[in-house]
């Protein structure tokens, strides 16, 4: 029997790596084959996009390497120049595999940046609304409600259109991708704000916040140092799912022709180009970019679904 008034020696604290391996999240990951496959697919697609300049078989946007006569070569088919193209070529003789790799680069860059932007904006506004409450809360949340009542793509189109009108035409090509990020980001912040606001309202009632208030800490310090780390769990889930949505949103906008300029084709642009040839027999120009987009969005979405379940202790077995 140990004397409770004596100091009992404690076990050594765990290292960061031990914490990760021991965590319930990691355990749930190892038990979900779908998630493992989805994460591997997503990882492969991301690596393919990031490493495109080094691993792509062709440089599709360098006119000097394009064999115009190889246009419309079927996948693995015989080309005019004798080069082989795994996924075939498009009308201009560009290698489809390479354009897809470069295209995913643009899609992923826009998707990640837009989600990051939406996340930062949504978290800040959500924290402010949840912690301060009152009038500020009402104003922010009503704006979010109004925005959520429109489809995100409509908001993005609107913002994109307004930005086009404001930016002089000669600079439009360079700024297009940033305008796109802004438009998609602004159309997605409300989800983050809502969730963060709700969690913040719960957290600010807890006594660890009271303890910090007792010390007279500035509200900004309380919110960023104490509350913020505790509201990030649900945010991570929304971020993953909205990454998939942002990628689709970008593809939709590019498909409609209002997204990235044709000199920097994204997956959506490729699909738009491809659909012109669908009925003339060149199915691969549409099929491969579309399939890549589906694979990318689906795998990211499955990861998000898993994360939501894994972070919910009620669903934990």
């Amino acid at each position: 029997m140990s004397d409770p008034m004596q100091i009992a020696p404690a076990t050594a604290p765990k290292t960061r790596w031990q914490r990760i391996v021991d965590s319930d999240i990691f355990f749930s990951y190892t038990r979900s084959p779908v998630t493992i496959i989805a994460s591997l697919v997503a990882l492969m697609l991301v690596l393919m996009a990031v490493l495109a300049p080094w691993i792509a078989p062709h440089t599709p946007f360098d006119p000097s390497t394009i064999e115009l006569m190889d246009g419309f070569t079927a996948p693995m088919g015989d080309s005019f120049s004798g080069k082989s193209y795994l996924f075939g070529t498009d009308d201009q003789g560009r290698d489809l595999l390479s354009t897809i790799m470069y295209g995913s680069r643009v899609s992923l860059f826009v998707g990640f940046s837009a989600t990051l932007f939406a996340m930062v904006l949504g978290i800040s506004l959500g924290l402010a609304a949840g912690y301060r409450g009152g009038m500020l809360d009402t104003v922010i949340m009503r704006i979010a409600d109004v925005q959520l009542s429109f489809p995100a793509i409509l908001i993005a189109l609107l913002i994109f259109g307004v930005a086009r009108g404001l930016i002089p035409p000669e600079r439009q090509e360079n700024t297009a991708i940033w305008v796109l990020i802004l438009a998609i980001g602004l159309s997605n912040w409300a989800q983050f704000a809502r969730t963060v606001r709700g969690t913040t309202m719960v957290e600010r009632q807890k006594d660890y916040v009271s303890a910090a208030r007792l010390l007279g800490r500035h509200p900004l310090a309380i919110v960023t140092r104490h509350v913020l780390p505790n509201v990030l769990g649900p945010v991570l889930v929304i971020a993953t799912i909205s990454l998939a949505l942002a990628i689709i949103e970008e593809a939709t906008l590019s498909f409609l022709g209002v997204g990235v300029p044709p000199t920097q084709p994204s997956l959506g642009t490729l699909i738009r180009i491809g659909q012109r040839f669908l009925f003339s027999g060149e199915w691969w120009i549409l099929a491969f970019p579309a399939f890549t987009l589906i694979l990318l969005a689906l795998s990211v979405n499955l990861l998000g679904d898993w994360l939501r379940d894994a972070l919910n202790p009620r669903l934990r077995k």
Binding site: I7, A10, P13, R213, L214, L215, G216, P229
Partner: protein, 545 residues
């Protein structure tokens, strides 16, 4: 002795978990005779609720009965198919759960719920069932039952709701009632009434009751026999008087010894040298109103706000180095008081002076307050930021108030504080979730001490803890008080804790301080009617003979 109603033999319950098998119950055996009340007592995690769930076949998956037998009046029930077992519940085994807020369906009237239960188990017509429902409610001690049968659960108070739950449990004349912490969510004066209802029912109907609780006092008042459990095993079984007066096992001895009593034990606190001496904390005419929702219409029409006075003209003083205990039931305004004194809620009127400085007087007061006043909160799970390492939690006041200059100086102080609360300094690098409730409360105490306060407001510091852990934390608080000359304001609903720790005590009732004075005088000779009621209602072990 007649054949037992319930007979449990060598019950083993396992939870196959990812980190190996967890044996929640390990060879539990006991009998309950007709009309007998068996009290099952133990600390959290002892397996007492698990025993109840296993008997009625409601184990949470992945829990399962691995071996052992459960017999109800001779019939083996643990092997019955789920559908048959479900028919037993309610019909032959009634249940009373801890939280009366969640055990009734808020969408149906009390009568509808009772009648449904009765007709499910008995061949009665609607009218007969209604008549029976009314008589059950009356039996459970609900006045004007015939009128109140059409009320919804939210129209009843917590204690009344628990009576309805009891009426539901006995609706089909079960042979056995399993009551799992039936009074833990209730105030002490209401608890006394519920205990009486249960006891009367048991005597009148000859129903056997398995009463599961962590509160030895409740068991002592109602049970015939006690079964003490620890870590999934039965430690000891015996009659109430035997277990409490002559516990055999070491665990039981320790458990009984750690239960505080409202009777004076040990030495009275050291007599004050100067009666009336200078007060360190002075609370005068403290008032706090809460706005109970002025709507926008109210504001436009400039209607007077709907105010609720939570704290009404409370005044008391605390001398340096002493402990003032504030007792009261839920809703009495004691937590609001604590928060105003600590500086978290601004008083509507009145003043709080610590060492002569009004802590609510502008930035001057705020600065004095931050240096001198600290607080220990009730729930150690919510008062420590789960995302911060323990070292950072304790260091925060040191850093914010600039009490140490260099990082190594801060670390030295944190290590020192951890040793003061009897924790190994190595735990600095851990997170709060890696500690037990008692250890967390020690960390919270270390944080409170880290700003070198002179006055600590303790809001129910031990009510979330098991009784043996409570004893350790209280001992620690008393030692630290000696060592640093701390002044405490101790808020508690537990009168025994106040008696043990405080020199003076104030009794709060509906926001009014009904009585205030030296603790011995008030406990031995209460003047106010409410104090008498409160003291009478406390189930106390010292009253057992």
């Amino acid at each position: 002795m007649s054949a037992p109603i319930l007979s449990v033999r060598n019950l083993v319950v396992d939870f196959p978990l990812r980190r190996g098998n967890f044996r929640a119950l390990d060879g539990v055996s006991f009998d309950i005779a007709p009309g007998e009340v068996l009290g099952v007592v133990g600390e959290s995690g002892a397996g007492k609720s698990m025993t109840g769930s296993a008997v009625i076949g409601l184990l949470e998956p992945p829990g399962q009965i691995t071996s052992g037998e459960v017999h109800l009046t001779g019939q083996r029930i643990d092997t019955l198919p789920a559908a048959e077992l479900a028919r037993l519940r309610g019909k032959r085994i009634g249940m009373v759960m801890q939280d009366p807020l969640t055990s009734l369906n808020p969408l149906f009237t009390v009568g509808e719920q009772l009648i449904e239960t009765i007709r499910q188990h008995m061949p009665l017509s609607e009218d007969e069932a209604r008549a029976r429902a009314i008589s059950l409610l009356e039996e459970a001690g609900i006045p004007r039952a015939a009128e109140r049968i059409n009320a919804y659960p939210h129209q009843f108070s917590g204690g009344m709701r628990q009576r309805v739950v009891i009426a539901l449990a006995i609706a089909a004349d079960p042979e056995l009632v399993i009551a799992d912490e039936p009074t833990s969510a209730l105030d002490v004066s209401v608890q006394a009434q519920i205990i009486k209802v249960l006891k009367d029912l048991c005597q009148r109907r000859g129903t056997a009751i398995m009463l599961i609780t962590h509160d030895m006092g409740v068991i002592a008042q109602i049970a015939d026999r006690i079964m003490v459990m620890n870590a999934g095993k039965v430690v000891e079984t015996g009659t109430v008087a035997n277990i409490i007066k002559h516990p055999q096992e070491e665990y039981t001895i320790r458990l009984i010894a750690s239960i505080p009593t409202i009777s004076r034990t040990g030495d009275a606190p050291p007599a004050r040298e100067d009666q009336g001496g200078a007060s360190y904390v002075e609370v005068s005419h403290l008032v706090r109103d809460f706005d109970m929702g002025a709507t926008i219409v109210d504001r436009i029409l400039r209607r007077p706000a709907n105010l609720f006075r939570a704290v009404n003209d409370v005044s008391f003083r605390i001398r340096k180095g002493e402990t003032y205990g504030l007792v009261g039931e839920s809703g009495s305004g004691k937590s609001t008081c604590a928060r105003m004194i600590a500086g978290l809620i601004e008083p509507t009127s009145g003043s709080v002076k610590v060492a002569g400085q009004d802590v609510w007087a502008g930035s001057e007061g705020a600065r004095a307050r931050r240096r001198a006043v600290q607080m220990i909160f009730q729930d150690p799970y919510a008062s420590l930021n789960p995302r911060w390492r323990v070292g950072n939690i304790i260091a925060e006041p040191i850093r914010v108030l600039g009490l140490a200059q260099t990082a190594s100086e801060v670390e030295d102080r944190v290590a020192d504080l951890l040793r003061k609360v009897r924790l190994d300094p190595i735990v600095m690098r851990k997170f709060p979730h890696e500690f037990s409730g008692g250890q967390r409360q020690r960390i919270a105490i270390a944080r409170a001490l880290s700003s070198q306060p002179e006055f600590i407001v303790c809001d129910e510091p031990t009510s979330a803890l098991d009784v043996s852990v409570q004893a350790q934390v209280l001992d620690l608080m008393a030692e630290l008080q000696q060592e640093f000359g701390l002044t405490y304001l101790l808020i508690s609903h537990n009168l025994a804790v106040i008696r043990q720790m405080a020199t003076d005590v104030g009794v709060l009732h509906n926001g009014v301080l009904v009585e205030s004075g030296p603790v011995d005088a008030i406990f031995d000779h209460p003047q106010a009617e409410y104090t008498k009621v409160l003291l009478d209602a406390v189930p106390d072990l010292a009253a057992i003979d």
